[in-house]
């Protein structure tokens, strides 16, 4: 089964980190990435720029509106994600538990066999 590990956090607390604190955080992500590779779960991952650099696009008929910022103002914002493939959601939750993150949402991915042709 494939899962998305969606990493949410308070961007303010990231901004407030010292260079050393950020280096520690990246080292923890690298260690997590190595563990993912060893476990055979790794299917990719990305870190996002802060949500103040986001644009949100909505189309209404022919009219397209583009607004600055994320689609919803929430205390925690999506900061990055990992894609993993593992036997069960329990394994995915175990992977999420190992992440150096405030909140991780684990979402199963729709497999190609589940989509209508």
């Amino acid at each position: 089964m494939k899962f998305a590990l969606l990493i949410y956090g308070d961007e303010g607390s990231w901004e407030a980190l010292s260079d050393e604190g950020r280096a520690q955080m990246y080292a923890q992500h690298e260690a997590f990435g190595s563990w993912l590779e060893e476990s055979g779960y790794d299917r990719g991952g990305e870190e996002l720029h802060p949500s103040d650099r986001a644009k949100t696009v909505r189309a209404d008929g022919e009219r397209i509106t583009v607004s600055d910022g994320p689609f919803a103002e929430t205390k925690e914002q999506l900061g990055g994600l990992y894609l993993i493939e593992c036997p069960s959601i329990d394994d995915a939750v175990e992977a999420a538990r190992r992440l150096p993150a405030q909140i991780v949402e684990v979402r199963p991915i729709v497999g190609s066999e589940e989509r209508p042709d």
Binding site: F71, A72, A96, V106, R107, P108, P116
Partner: protein
């Protein structure tokens, strides 16, 4: 530049669509994906199962707390994403506006944080 296109839409609205509508909608998605691949911008993309299948994990003081469902209750929910690589934000907006979900949902475009990978041995 690489961008993540985050596709948000109201899951409840989609629960009411007929099999015929689903078939038409899927055709729109396959056409979109074909177009995205032709442009050379496509890097990855996935559809997520509904939020009811999600689990949210928080670690506090070494304790793992898990709750069912998404981390935040919003009118529209994350249903999938595309990772694209294109020249600039204008192209990313074009790719977002062409998404079959754009007329009924919201597409959040987020630039990817790029890292300089150190040379081995440096």
């Amino acid at each position: 530049m690489r961008y993540l296109l985050l596709i948000y839409a109201d899951e409840r609205a989609q629960a009411d669509v007929s099999p015929d509508q689903i078939e038409r909608l899927m055709k729109d998605w396959w056409e979109y994906e074909g177009w995205l691949r032709e442009t050379g911008w496509h890097r990855a993309g996935e559809a997520l199962q509904p939020i009811a299948t999600g689990t949210t994990v928080r670690v506090r003081d070494g304790q793992t707390l898990t709750t069912d469902g998404p981390f935040a209750e919003t009118k529209e929910q994350l249903g999938g994403f595309y990772l694209i690589e294109c020249d600039d934000l204008d192209q990313a907006i074009e790719a977002a506006a062409r998404l079959p979900a754009a007329p009924y949902g919201s597409i959040e475009i987020r630039p990817i944080q790029e890292f300089e990978v150190p040379e081995p041995g440096s």
